[in-house]
Symmetry: C2
Subunit: 310 residues, 2 copies
DNA sequence: TAATATTATGCCGAATAATGGATAAGTCAG
DNA sequence: CTGACTTATCCATTATTCGGCATAATATTA
């Protein structure tokens, strides 16, 4: 291994640096020293023979040559993986690591469990599960798969619809005992609402009656939360009424810790999609996990077959 | 660099072992310890997850998976090279190493000189020049380009015709003084012939007169040589008459150390071809050398434009 | 302008990996 | 059956890599 030889590791480092635009960020991400990143990039440039990254002290951008080399490198690394997959093909189990991004609450309550089951079936597949409610740039973060709730903005990604997430109005028995139980939509205006700050239009609720009639009622309250699990805590603590995804509260409903309000009125469902980075969609283990998640998630109570209905 | 990670080096080792069918042979070729080769192959197999080579103590063959992986690996390494070439493209000089195989005499007298000139123009390109009169398996020996004199057997290789190598009957003045100068083809039967043992049909000579008439005369002598340069020595030492490629003796003719015999009768020319391993034909430096050699060799006295004439 | 963050570089001790040789075991040819 | 050659494995030595730190230079931001 000559000091100036092209290496997968150096190539990977370069790719990541090109994507993130920062040496130190990649150093932190990889958990290695910053000098190592500098060294790897320099060594790769020496091996290739031209500067690949144009680095100022504040930003790292690709040179024209680097841009070409980046595209080729990505393709090469993909081929390397596919070669392994293909060789394993008949014999042996798929292996490698998948990076998956998901909203925090759904991840904690469901995806994590599914991932555990997946890894039981495929012991050689590593999974890097990133739970955050922030919209991440999949490519930038090196993610293979993302689960997204709600309307989509991103587009260059492969999409797989998983269904519609049913939402319910819920509250704790304590709260209902104290404040009374709403019977018609307009009753809500006299109640305390727990709102999700990261959901657009949380100031009103659109309810649809069994007959199809629509009610739009104001929805207010003293508590706004941007994290599903914290909202769950708030519901349990009798802080008010919340429009909750069924997957968020199903166990609590079953245990009698929460109750459904205005069950005859439907809240708009929210589409649940899986986004797949196209370059990784061909990798065997990614395909496996995609299929597995699609199947398992469809079986989660509250996830309905995808026929947009609101 | 984890111990069980896929590495270009391990990949290269595997490819070479697969091609040669022997670990120790590759160890010798690479100039490393035999245990290193064993280790590299084992590590690659661990990284991929399936056995790639089926090894007995006497022979190494690819498994079915290994065969697939081999094809992919070759493609990957080629892409790696092309990526560097492409990145260098605009800026910088091509670099890397080319391995070229050539017959010994032609190599010593001409190709080596051309290679030196080529390297003067392209300081970053390394050349591994292998001079032997044995027909080598280009892929097996890891050769990029081969120069071949005479009819071709191999076929899966890209072919570039360089021309026809003119041959002459020559002898030293001393010899001619001692034995007389042949005037008509039949005179040859009374002379001492220096024959090339590695040329088929060296027991007779086919001469074509200026009028187009053909003469086939026996050609015999006490000396057979399988090396062009040794034949050159033999001619100089007045050992007899030889049918020699013009490029082999041009300098000696010019210096008056040899003379042409029966100049009005033509010997069949021999095709001179360049064979290029297709996988390497796309690499920039290989293309460069191919063009350079094609141009320069065409300018060597005795190499005529390719219109098969015999 | 000052403060801050980022990159380039050198150095060093520690950890890690690579190396080649020796040995054992196995296979093929004669 | 023997000899020659090949591969697998172990082991001690050697080489390399790594991370962190310090420093300098530089650009962005306040």
């Amino acid at each position: 291994m000559d000091k100036s030889d092209i290496t997968f590791e150096r190539m990977r480092t370069f790719i990541r640096v090109a994507e993130r635009g920062s040496l130190s960020a990649v150093a932190r991400e990889f958990g290695v020293g910053q000098s190592t990143i500098t060294r790897h990039v320099r060594e790769l440039e020496e091996a290739v023979g031209v500067p690949l990254l144009s680095r100022t002290t504040r930003r790292v951008t690709m040179t024209a040559e680097g841009s070409r080399y980046y595209a080729n490198s990505v393709q090469i690394l993909r081929l390397v993986e596919q070669a392994s997959d293909e060789a394993r093909g008949t014999r042996g189990a798929p292996a490698g690591t998948i990076r998956i991004s998901c909203t925090a609450a759904f991840g904690v309550l469901h995806v994590s469990r599914l991932i555990f089951a997946f890894q039981d079936r495929h012991p050689d597949i590593g999974v890097d599960l990133s739970l955050t409610d922030e919209r991440v740039d999949l490519v930038r973060e090196g993610v293979d798969i993302a689960l997204r709730l709600g309307p989509l903005t991103d587009s260059s990604l492969k999409l797989r619809a998983l269904g519609q997430s049913r939402r319910l109005l819920v509250a704790s028995p304590d709260y209902l005992a104290a404040r009374g139980r709403p019977v018609v939509p307009s009753d809500l205006s006299r109640h305390e609402g727990i709102r999700m700050s990261n959901v657009a239009g949380s100031e009103t609720l659109a309810l649809q009656g069994v007959g199809g009639e629509r009610h739009t009622v104001p929805f207010a309250g003293r508590l706004r939360i941007d994290h599903g699990l914290a909202a769950r805590q708030a519901m349990l603590a009798a802080r008010g009424i919340a429009p909750a995804h069924r997957w968020l509260v199903d166990d609590l409903l079953a245990a009698g810790l929460l109750e459904t309000i205005l069950a005859d009125y439907a809240l708009p469902s929210v589409p649940l999609n899986m986004l797949i980075v196209p370059e990784r969609a061909g990798v065997a283990r990614v395909r496996l996990l995609v299929e597995f998640l699609a199947e398992q998630i469809a079986a989660i109570p509250g996830i309905e077959k995808s026929i947009p209905e609101h």
